[in-house]
């Protein structure tokens, strides 16, 4: 015990107090002078450009070029609607991130085996020559499609960010494209197939619309841990909830910080089984005639015999599937009907509670239903999400005030341009999640097996990628090793220099991914940068523009990537095209002018340099997703083939017939609950690995960003959550070091025994940095345990679907 305390002593813990004796030696006493008033202090505005969805502004104070503190209060009223945009704990720790001991200081090249982290310092000229030579050499030898950018989101600049590298490569003939991303790949697909575009999946009704709702159903939705900033969804949700008193039901395996007294009811559910719950709700509504039949008839395809596509019978309709009958007009359920009792055993939620939930949702005047991204990062992610969208559809509760289509809440928006990337001459694309497969054997990846896009196809619709990835560019990204699945497998693959022959990493710190670079270039940090940035993609109901500037010089030899790309363009013969004859200042002035044209109220840049932030609460008013379609479906058809909401998807029916799937994978025309490998119902694997393990967004990081800040490691424990019933079986108590393991690897972390998690389920904050110590990862990187097996349709990441065992070290 570090400190004695009443609070600690009062708890029933079996630890003895270790109080040191009174130290009376006066020579040990150091007199601390009072802090003098700060003089000559500079204030610059900067921002946290991390991928949480909300780019918070921060006030950065510096003296003599050294950052001294970070603040974020800057209004006089702070009344909701005209409130401060307050950074969360991460933004408030930014100083420690800039001055982290593992900052990359100089350009370096690899000298040891790849991944060993052994580098030697080289000059910028040498580094740039080397990078230009390697990229040009790869293009010459293997073609542009052999160069790939791994997913990256650690530095969301508008001017001097990854766009500069894309622009450079596009001028040089392009690179192998990627579609999808680690957050929402299966959501894009689910929303696209159901609502005709990805938009309704991640741009549902705004949080403000909750004020018109009487019942908010949050399936995995957790704003207080993923959108914590003081302008963002967490604050918006709290304000709406406390003012409007709508009922809130939260479904999640964890009793999250979005609950803790703000919810009216928490239903603990097993990961990957939400679709079974949704089907039982559908069963209740169908058998009690509480579906909105008129809505289904008018707006939807595939509910019952009245709305099936030509040539498809009732027996393939949603109603027939839920009831398990094949006779039009029959309401007699079959033996495989999706009853509450059936779903109860799978989900863990008692049948009478499911029935009551169905009744409450049906009775609600305006239920606001949100299906979070957690459901999409699972083995049947596309189907899970589509199944969730059925709730508002069956009730006809979308496109109306106070409702949502199941999508993630859309944030408000003010525009700030990005460095234009130009267009990529290479049309071939792979799922972002299959880059390791494309390194290993890209040549034989196909359309029907691996979701390859943009290639020539035969009469079957199949075609090959026909190329391997031979060079990787990684800018501000940790998905090269840490955030991708099955770290140990990726590690071995990248160590083989005969496969991927060149890896360029540009970053601020020696991340686990940076250790795999052949050439390592030090970028500046946000607090050393100038840029005009917007609120990002999910900052809630307050939209912002922030003028970043810096009172400190770039540390060591770090350089902005824009300047680096100009120098590379020079070496690769495309400098004039890259710069268009513009200076750095010209670009920034142009961007500012474009922003001001889009937002006339934006003051002049000189004013913004002092004022820092320009913001508006709901600049375009509240947003009701699919409102236009609801009002006039003829004039505003959806992007589906039918122009309607497609419960039955003919496109997915085609894929189900033609695609080559792994055993156990399911593509279905209807949204369905699919028991999966390493899911709750995988009894075979559970004999060896009985616990479900899901990741979650810890407040102490945004993905893997900020992991190297000790202040954050201290205040947000990286421990695996375990229910007391599971912990007792294993003789574990909070603070014990444990190994979490499966066939893919072992990680070592502390265990947190807490009633705040479902029995049989464990959860670990994702993003901790991989730190191998022999066979065991001592860093606690969740992805040592996750699989590279893809989801069926989008070939996306199923990183919440894992079975493991846990034992005391």
């Amino acid at each position: 015990m570090e400190r004695r305390s009443f609070l600690k002593m009062s708890a029933a813990l079996s630890c003895a107090a270790t109080v040191s004796g009174c130290n009376s030696s006066s020579k040990d006493v150091e007199v601390v002078p009072p802090t003098p008033p700060v003089a000559g202090e500079n204030l610059n505005w900067s921002a946290c450009l991390v991928n949480c969805g909300s780019n918070c502004p921060v006030q950065v104070f510096s003296t003599d070029g050294v950052i001294t503190r970070v603040e974020s209060e800057f209004t006089t009223t702070d009344k909701y609607g005209d409130h401060d945009v307050r950074a969360c704990l991460r933004g408030r720790s930014l100083r420690k991130r800039v001055y982290a001991p593992d900052r990359l200081k100089y350009p370096m090249k690899r000298v040891g085996p790849r991944g060993s982290g052994q580098f030697e310092r080289i000059s910028w000229d040498e580094a740039l020559d080397l990078v230009a030579e390697k990229l040009q050499g790869t293009i010459d030898q293997y073609g542009n499609e052999s160069i790939h950018f791994t997913y990256n989101s650690g530095a969301r600049y508008h001017f001097s960010g990854k766009q500069c590298l894309y622009r450079l490569m596009n001028l040089k003939g392009g690179y192998l494209n990627a579609y999808g991303d680690y957050s929402w790949s299966q959501i894009y697909e689910a929303a696209g197939q159901t609502y005709g575009s990805a938009g309704p999946g991640w741009q549902g009704s705004s949080v403000s619309e909750m004020q018109n709702s009487d019942l908010v159903l949050m399936v995995g939705y957790n704003p207080s841990e993923i959108r914590m900033s003081g302008s963002g969804e967490a604050y918006d949700f709290l304000m709406q909830k406390q003012k409007n008193k709508f009922k809130t039901i939260l479904i999640d395996p964890r009793y999250t910080d979005s609950a803790v007294g703000k919810e009216d009811q928490w239903l603990a559910i097993r990961p990957g089984t939400d679709a079974a719950l949704f089907e039982a709700l559908a069963y209740e509504w169908i058998t009690t005639n509480t579906v909105d039949q008129a809505f289904l008839d008018k707006y939807c395809v595939g509910y019952d015999e009245k709305t099936m596509p030509a040539g498809v019978g009732y027996e393939e309709s949603y109603k027939a599937y839920i009831l398990d009958n094949t006779t039009v007009g029959s309401s007699i359920p079959g033996v495989n009907a999706k009853t509450p009792e059936w779903a109860a055993a799978i989900t863990g939620i008692e049948a009478h509670i499911i029935v009551e939930l169905a009744r409450e949702l049906a009775a609600a005047r305006a239920p606001f239903i949100q299906i979070a991204a957690s459901l999409n990062r699972q083995a049947a992610g596309e189907n899970n999400t589509r199944a969730g969208y059925m709730l508002p559809i069956l009730l006809g509760q979308l496109g109306l005030p106070g409702t949502n289509c199941g999508g993630l809440c859309k944030g408000s928006f003010l525009h700030a341009p990005f460095m234009p990337t130009g267009s990529n001459p290479v049309k071939k694309a792979i799922s972002f999640f299959t880059f390791t497969q494309a390194i290993e054997d890209g040549k034989n990846m196909t359309v029907l097996s691996d979701g390859v896009q943009g290639v020539d196809t035969d009469e079957e619709g199949d075609g090959k990628l026909g190329t391997d990835i031979k060079a990787i560019i990684n800018y501000g990204g940790n998905a090269l090793i840490n955030q991708h699945s099955d770290v140990r497998k990726t590690e071995k693959l990248l160590q083989d220099e005969s496969k991927c022959e060149f890896i360029l990493v540009v970053d601020n710190w020696m991340t686990p991914s940076a250790k795999f670079a052949d050439v390592l270039l030090p970028d500046v940090t946000w607090l050393e940068s100038e840029d005009l940035i917007y609120q990002s993609y999910a900052a809630g109901d307050t939209a912002t523009l922030v003028q970043m500037s810096s009172g400190v010089d770039p540390m060591f030899e770090s350089r902005p990537i824009y300047e680096v790309c100009v120098d590379l363009a020079k070496r690769m013969g495309v400098e004039a095209e890259f710069t268009e004859g513009k200076s750095r200042k010209d670009w920034l002035d142009q961007f500012y002018a474009e922003s001001k044209a889009a937002t006339p109220g934006l003051p002049d840049k000189e004013v913004m340099l002092t004022q820092g932030i320009y913001r508006k609460y709901l600049p375009d008013g509240g947003y009701i997703v699919l409102e236009d379609f609801r009002n006039d479906p003829e004039a505003n058809p959806l992007g589906t083939p039918s122009g309607k909401i497609e419960i039955y998807s003919s496109r997915l029916a085609d894929k189900a017939r033609t695609w080559k799937l792994k055993e156990g994978d399911v593509i279905s025309a209807l949204p369905k609950y699919v028991p999966t490998w390493e899911g709750y119902e995988d009894t075979e694997t559970k004999k060896k690995y009985p616990l479900q393990l899901t990741g979650y967004h810890t407040k102490g990081r945004a993905h893997s960003s900020y992991h190297n800040v000790p202040w954050l490691r201290e205040v947000v424990q990286d421990a695996v959550w375990m229910n007391p019933l599971d912990a007792n079986k294993r003789g574990l108590k909070t603070g014990d070091k444990v190994h979490i393991f499966n066939d893919r690897g072992t990680i070592e972390v502390e265990v947190k025994v807490t009633p705040r998690i479902m029995v049989g389920v464990t959860a670990l904050g994702q993003g901790a940095w991989f730190q191998p110590g022999g066979d065991v990862d001592k860093g606690g990187c969740l992805n040592v345990l996750t699989t590279q097996r893809t989801t069926p349709v989008t070939k996306g990441n199923p990183q919440h679907t894992n079975l493991v065992e846990i034992r005391k070290v």
Partner: protein
């Protein structure tokens, strides 16, 4: 400032989400090392789980957070315990401060305080604690923890003003805090609907490693 003003905190436990921005912004103000947390956010929770035998489970889980700094108590036991007079209560604002040049690092105050507010700096061998951001107050600003809270769950000011501003607030006789009669803390709480009384036995602190 006139005499006899007593400053204190108000914490709205119905708003606090346990994000710990207060804890980190406090550290940034004084560049506090790992191990010293002038403000701490305790996670208190409990509840029972039952496996029903049909694959379902039942539970009555609850949890809430309590953000605690120094309560600048009216009867500060740390001051009484201090052998040198280093720990003292300021007449002008009621804030409890450490006179570092008098402190001998004996930790008597830390042992006495039921809130864990005084925390020893082992390197410098002096006691440290929440000073109420007195220099920010002089500039008309709020303490860093108040200014930073994304949920606006913390407030600070003269106690009579806080009492008037938050008529529904109560004395902090809530778990995991001790009974307020021990030190007469200058802290008001707006309770969370899950809040348990001091000494409750149906919950426990769930995050010792973070505080």
């Amino acid at each position: 400032m006139s005499n006899n003003i007593q400053y204190g905190f108000h914490v709205d436990a119905s708003k606090c989400t346990g994000c710990k921005t207060c804890q980190v912004s406090c550290k940034d103000r004084k560049d506090l090392p790992v191990g010293i947390n002038w403000r701490r956010v305790y996670e208190y929770g409990g509840g029972q789980w039952t496996e029903n035998g049909d694959g379902t489970v039942s539970q009555n889980v609850f949890a809430y957070y309590m953000s605690i700094g120094c309560n600048h108590c009216s009867e500060p036991v740390c001051v009484k315990a201090c052998p040198t007079g280093a720990m003292h209560k300021r007449r002008e604002d009621g804030l409890v401060h450490v006179a570092a040049d008098l402190c001998i690092g004996c930790e008597s105050c830390a042992r006495a305080c039921p809130y864990d507010a005084p925390q020893i700096d082992k390197d410098r061998k002096v006691m440290t604690k929440c000073d109420g951001c007195y220099e920010r107050l002089a500039e008309g600003k709020q303490p860093s923890c108040v200014e930073s809270c994304p949920m606006r769950a913390i407030d600070f000011g003269p106690m009579d003003e806080l009492k008037a501003k938050y008529p529904g607030a109560i004395s902090p006789d809530v778990a995991p805090l001790p009974e307020s009669s021990v030190t007469t803390p200058n802290l008001l709480i707006t309770p969370n609907r899950h809040t348990r009384p001091s000494g409750a036995t149906d919950g426990e602190v769930l995050n010792y490693s973070e505080v």
